[in-house]
Amino acid sequence: MKELFPAKQVGGFVFSLILTGVALLVYYFNMSRAVGLTILTLTAFIQAAVQLVVFMHAREIEDSKSVFTTIYYAIIIALVTIFGTLLCMIWGWNY
């Protein structure tokens, strides 16, 4: 039975739950926008990284370089799109 529950994955799961808990702090305590958003962003990205490395075994595939390039590139382009759009549609808008 024990070999079915590897420590790495159980640890990853517990860590994910803790990170969710940390994100919840933003809900239960009043904090400034900057602090709140920083906590939320950090917990989200760390949790995503845990999924990628612990659960999705992104590092063990022989093409892991291609995999990480794809993922990083996707994240960069997605962020460019999000912030570029906000820049055009909201922040850089006079009227």
Partner: protein, 200 residues
């Protein structure tokens, strides 16, 4: 079909390795797909017109339940893949079935949540904000629903054909998909619900 026994079953043939890399690249496209939805969400989030704002309709309890269910299902399917690598077909199937049940639980909560929103007057047509909210959540929900069928097919195949290079490959790719849906949910949880509820 050349089988390389030095590698885990899911990587053991050339076609298997192609499939896994191809699926990772597809996930890159999926990141962009959800990235675009988030782009639109952030652009439209304050454009609520006469409709409700997020903080008025979001409730923490169902959201936490959904998060917990999906997070657990992601963990369980990881165990399923681990069992598969051990060659334990029974445990693998059990974990996969549990994953899908958790997925169904997630969907049940999400559908109830949607019904509540409708009753509170936040429909798909109310405002730009509700339109993009339902579309973003709905796209994720549609992915989960599709995953339920896909996962079911794979369980049936493993049951009938056993753990072979082909079924192991399919199961592993399905697990990638399922974990990815959890990753997307993390961002939905954080940037739609938490950000909306706290009005940051």
């Amino acid at each position: 079909m050349k089988v390389d026994h030095s590698q885990p079953l899911e990587y053991s043939t050339e076609q298997n390795r192609l499939n896994i890399l191809g699926f990772w690249i597809f996930l890159g496209a999926e990141i962009m797909l959800f990235g675009t939805l988030f782009t639109c969400y952030f652009t439209l989030v304050n454009r609520t017109s006469d409709g409700p704002i997020g903080a008025e309709i979001f409730e923490i309890t169902p959201v936490l339940m959904e998060t917990f269910l999906l997070l657990t299902s992601s963990f369980v399917i990881g165990l399923g893949i681990h069992a598969m690598r051990l060659g334990n077909k029974k445990a693998m199937q059990a974990f996969f079935i549990l994953t899908l049940l958790l997925g169904i639980g997630f969907l049940a909560f999400e559908i109830t949540e949607f019904i509540t929103y409708y009753e509170e007057g936040a429909t798909l047509q109310t405002s730009a904000f509700t339109s993009i909210l339902f579309t973003t959540l709905g796209t994720h929900g549609a992915h989960v629903s599709l995953g339920l069928f896909w996962g079911l097919f794979i369980i049936l195949q493993v049951r009938k054909r056993g753990i072979t290079p082909v079924t192991a490959n399919k199961s592993f790719i399905f697990s990638l998909y399922w974990h990815f849906l959890d990753v997307v949910w993390i961002f939905i949880f954080t940037f739609i619900y938490m950000k909306g509820l706290t009005q940051l």
